[in-house]
């Protein structure tokens, strides 16, 4: 990269450069709506305010993209589905979009995703698959596919995603980006298209932990439109990023999380453990059952959400999603209640582990990005259904609602894997300190590609 440091460039110059990179990266199929006019007008307003003496925001002039399930005023919120194309355009920006823009960032595009956020792969029928930035023949991971791919490709440094079962964490790992799923109820979901009310989270994806923390700081704040949000004081993470991990007890989740892992995923976990001084293993006995609970809750709530639309126009949905939703709409209450009861036990078990540890490490994915279209993957001699297996290590943690970050790690053939950093509820700062420590130690070096700037 040449030219002046980004922070010294005008917002207009940064946005123009981002728009050029989006065009150069069109083959990734990651951006769905490019918002050039809006972005340039917003950037010009920022530059005018600066020249008039206004103090710059913490994200001044940072171009960002948002998964196309976030409302953007004046355009239809697609949520990756043909079933939404007849919806009215959004009347206002989602809380998260507005929050980042209040901090000085500039929305430049919306991004591709798994249909209705129901998937871990980045496959999408109506909009086409998002391609992995490091190998177009491989999945990007999903469902925040385009957001992670554009950050991993160096097109933008910041993106918004959502995470119900791993939809920030899986694509961040496979595309070489940092990601954060904050505590359930911490960040407003206002203006984000719903998927599974019990499990939906929103969060940032970024090129580095410092930007991830700045975005997390900007995204905090009360939103009366989100009834699941828990009233909390705003706890800025950025001032604490340089504290390192001194005083934090770090363990490694074993048992279910110990494998199967390909050599790259295993090496990433070992490297993270070495940097963070993690030695002792901790077992989450209910992890596999927790994954089952997440699956049952997801299919039941998503099926119920879309039941009327399924009856009205089933062919508007892609076949993969349509059939999952239909099954979910019919699932018995006994399964759903058992899953919600298991969820509480799982959270209690994890909470007990946090009496011994401040942070726990786990793999983010079992392997590098599989080929697009694969039905199965084989990892350590175990053959697994691909569309479920890529999320097998994020899925069990989601029902607990704890904050989880992902740090990417370079893998074979220029690909990427990642590790999850897990903290007790409301301790996002622990996660971000650990991600910063990993980054400072070079854990994620050489993981990012750069589209010509």
């Amino acid at each position: 990269m040449s030219g002046p440091p980004a922070a010294e460039q005008s917002a207009v110059a940064r946005v123009e450069a981002a728009l050029r990179r989006i065009e150069a990266a069109r083959s990734l199929n990651a951006a769905t709506t490019v918002l050039a006019a809006r972005a340039l007008a917003r950037a010009a307003a920022l530059d005018r305010a600066r020249s008039d003496g206004a103090a710059p925001g913490p994200l001044q002039g940072v171009p960002f993209v948002a998964k196309n399930l976030f409302d953007v005023a004046g355009i239809v919120t697609r949520a990756g589905s043909a079933a939404t194309v007849g919806d009215a355009p959004a009347r206002a920006d989602a809380f998260s979009v507005a929050a980042l823009e209040r901090a000085g960032a500039v929305l430049v595009a919306t991004t591709n995703m798994d249909e209705l956020a129901y998937g871990f792969t980045g496959e999408n029928g109506p909009d086409g698959d998002t391609l992995n930035p490091y190998d177009a023949a491989r999945i990007s991971g999903g469902s925040s596919a385009g957001s992670a791919a554009l950050v991993g490709a160096g097109v933008v440094d910041l993106a918004l995603g959502s995470d119900t079962n791993g939809s920030i964490r899986v694509p961040s790992a496979l595309c070489g980006a940092f990601g954060l799923k904050a505590t359930y109820g911490r960040l407003s979901r206002g203006g984000a298209y719903p998927f599974v009310a019990s499990l939906d989270h929103v969060g940032p994806i970024a090129a580095n932990p410092r930007l991830l923390a700045a975005a997390y700081d900007a995204l905090q704040g009360a939103d009366p439109q989100d009834p699941t949000q828990v009233p909390r004081d705003i706890g800025p993470a950025t001032p604490q990023l340089d504290a390192g991990i001194s005083g934090l007890r770090v363990g490694i989740l074993g048992g279910y999380f110990a494998g199967p892992l390909d050599p790259d995923a295993a090496a990433a976990l070992a490297a993270a453990a070495a940097v963070l001084g993690a030695g002792e293993a901790a077992e989450l006995r209910l992890a596999e059952a927790g994954r089952a609970a997440a699956f049952v809750i997801t299919t039941s709530e998503a099926g119920h959400l879309h039941r009327a639309a399924l009856s009205r126009d089933p062919e508007a949905f892609g076949p993969l999603v349509r059939d999952r939703l239909a099954a979910g709409a019919l699932a018995p209450a006994a399964w759903y209640l058992a899953a919600q009861k298991l969820r509480r036990r799982l959270a209690e078990e994890l909470s007990a582990l946090f009496a011994r540890f401040d942070l726990l490490l786990a793999p983010a994915v079992p392997c590098v990005a599989p080929p697009r279209g694969a039905e199965t993957i084989t990892v350590q001699d175990r053959t697994l259904p691909m569309r479920l297996a890529v999320g097998m290590y994020t899925h069990p943690l989601t029902p607990t609602g704890v904050p989880v970050g992902v740090a990417p790690r370079a893998a074979r053939d220029g690909l990427s894997v990642g590790v999850q950093v897990v903290a007790p509820p409301w301790h996002e700062v622990h996660v971000l300190r650990a991600l910063a420590a990993l980054d400072a130690a070079g854990f994620s070096r050489s993981v990012r590609m750069e589209v010509t700037r």
């Binding site: 059952a289 049952v296 009856s311 239909a326 509480r344 036990r345 029902p399």
Partner: protein
């Protein structure tokens, strides 16, 4: 939950046919086949929950709050 060891095998096709009527969800032949495959998969996950002792008596995770504390 009943003890599945004593229960007959889960007939996903019959279940989907009955439940789709009960829920008023019309299924095309293609959709019916996909729904059966997915309800079978969901059933397999639900069986894992049966292995946890005493779950029927446990509190579910979401606790209804009638208003702010």
């Amino acid at each position: 939950m009943p003890d599945r060891a004593d229960a007959p095998p889960f007939d996903a096709a019959a279940y989907v046919d009955a439940a789709s009527v009960a829920c008023g969800l019309k299924l095309s032949p293609a959709m019916r086949a996909g729904a059966i495959a997915n309800i079978e998969r969901t059933s397999a996950f639900a069986r894992l929950l049966d292995d946890e002792a005493g779950l029927a008596q446990a509190e579910p995770a979401p606790v209804f709050r009638p208003g702010p504390p």
